[in-house]
């Protein structure tokens, strides 16, 4: 696992496999709290849904997490529920209203929004952004964690420790 410092508060790890991406999600569970919002960004096939699967498994959710592209919103019940959203198919920020995100993203659940960067300006500013991109090897993914807003800046040291130990 390679660790690199990146620009302005962001942290970089490299995942070498889907299992690595699951493990990263699992470790991130120790830093996450109910009410948190996570934006997953990156091209098709870079590991956004895989990451969410890892997150759900670590949170004790029994349901199979599948791609929310078609259904747009999928809620998984568990000790800490996950609201899994995919805005891949949306073209305009106005369409976000139809998803009623403000109702779905409550204080008891963790919100995960795939392709969240497409509407970053229209989503709550306090959030963890995770950018996935293809790495050197065919299964490698560069994963950049970007803490945004006061609650995540306060947790930056925890994230840094997680990244160093990965």
């Amino acid at each position: 696992m390679n660790v690199n410092p990146a620009g302005a508060g962001s942290l970089v790890v490299v995942s070498h496999s889907v299992a690595d991406t699951h493990r990263l999600a699992s470790q991130l569970c120790d830093v996450l709290r109910p009410g948190d919002l996570v934006l997953l960004c990156g091209d098709l096939g870079t590991g956004k849904t895989a990451f969410t699967k890892g997150l759900a498994a670590s949170l004790g959710i029994d349901d199979q997490v599948t791609s929310p592209t078609f259904v747009l919103v999928q809620t998984y019940d568990g000790p800490v529920p996950i609201v899994h959203v995919d805005v891949y198919r949306l073209e305009h920020a106005g369409e976000l209203e139809a998803l009623a995100l403000e109702e779905l993203l409550d204080e008891t659940a963790i919100g995960v929004i795939e392709w969240g960067d497409r509407f970053a300006a229209h989503l709550p500013p306090d959030r963890l952004e995770i950018m996935f991109s293809p790495g050197a090897g065919i299964d490698d993914r560069t994963v950049v964690l970007v803490p945004q807003g006061p609650s995540w800046h306060a947790r930056r040291r925890l994230l840094a420790e997680l990244v160093e130990g990965f």
């Binding site: 096939g45 199979q64 078609f70 259904v71 747009l72 198919r89 073209e91 139809a98 065919i138």
Partner: protein, 338 residues
């Protein structure tokens, strides 16, 4: 007293991008079926956009229902019941059909039946073959779902396997969008694949030896990696090869399931069942295995309201009407036994 067999049911479907209404008599005789597709209006968005979908359903639903009645030569008082898809699907879209059906039920004093969209797809084949033999194994594959269902009897289902990540139709759509083929992706790939060589690129068949679950995310990633590394590859060859990988995976598992549960027939349904290669392969493999295969007409595979009215007839028979106090259920699952 109305004899159940001749009940005329108005079915309404608005769970995704089609606004549809149909009148079916006795569970299988289609008196009319009207589908107003929003696919063309969605084409420029590369997908179904829910806010627009709900609004378009509201715009056209009254007209679609009226046309279904005119084509059936009926008026509201001649209906015995009204049904609508109440899940799964987009909440806003579902509510349009559910509200319309409840209003008709209330105004005309007839029963309302809320229908599970997935269960309706299982029943689509009965509209062409009322004497379909049970038990059967159904492959249901669409943009949002991919599952193999053992239909033991009416209303008695076991899900043998389902996708663990992407749906088969989603794989078609995302690959097509990545290759610049537009939306919906399935028909575009189907057309181009006719002129391609399905053996030209060997894409993976994920989880082929692992039970009846599917995984199409890895295949999607493999195709995208291939296109990135070979941008000048022949498009028909690419389409034929992707299609072959998807069809292979679906049909091998479907036939294996049919043998294992000793099914009398195999059936396909859902939007992906409109794919030419899949239809041909299922008929060929079933003939080879000496098992009956039912490949419904394309209009019955894609979303329609005739299948809603058909399943409603069976559910009214077994469970009675649905309360008007019930709502829409976006995360509804197929009811299973055991």
């Amino acid at each position: 007293m109305v004899i159940l067999r001749s009940l005329r049911i108005l079915g309404i479907e608005t769970s995704c991008d089609e606004t549809a209404a149909a009148v079916v008599e006795g569970g299988s005789m289609v008196c009319s079926s009207v589908v107003a597709s929003q696919a063309e209006r969605h084409a420029r968005f590369g997908g179904v956009v829910p806010e627009i979908a709900s609004r378009l359903h509201v715009d056209v639903i009254t007209d679609v229902i009226a046309r279904a009645l005119v084509e059936a030569g009926l008026d509201f008082p001649e209906l015995d019941a009204v049904a609508a898809t109440h899940g799964p699907g987009l909440a806003g879209a579902l509510l349009v059909g559910v509200s319309a059906a409840k209003a008709i039920a209330l105004a005309h004093g007839i029963p309302y039946i809320g229908v599970n969209h997935l269960e309706a797809h299982l029943y689509a084949a009965f509209l062409e073959e009322p004497d379909l033999v049970l038990p059967m194994v159904v492959l249901l594959a669409s943009g949002g779902h991919t599952m193999i269902v053992h239909m033991i009897d009416h209303g008695r289902y076991v899900v043998l396997g389902r996708t663990v990540d992407d749906a088969a139709g989603e794989c078609f759509d995302k690959v097509a969008r990545f290759a610049g083929l537009g939306y919906p992706g399935g028909p575009a790939i189907d057309r181009l694949a006719i002129d391609g060589d399905p053996t030209s690129i060997r894409f993976p068949r994920p989880m082929l030896d692992e039970g009846y679950d599917f995984s199409f995310s890895g295949l999607k990633t493999a195709v995208i990696n291939h296109v990135r590394n070979h941008p000048d590859d022949d498009l028909p060859d690419l389409c034929a090869s992707v299609q072959e990988a998807i069809v292979d995976t679906l049909v091998i598992k479907l036939m294996r399931a049919a043998r294992e549960v000793d099914a009398k027939a195999v059936v396909i349904g859902g939007g992906v069942a409109a794919n030419t290669a899949l239809r041909t392969r299922v008929l060929d493999e079933a003939a080879r295995a000496g098992i009956r295969a039912f490949v419904p007409a394309r209009w019955l595979c894609t979303d329609n309201a005739a299948m809603i009215a058909s399943v409603a007839w069976w559910r009214l028979h077994s469970d009675g009407p649905t309360s008007l106090a019930s709502g829409a259920y976006p995360n509804l699952r197929l009811p299973v036994v055991g």
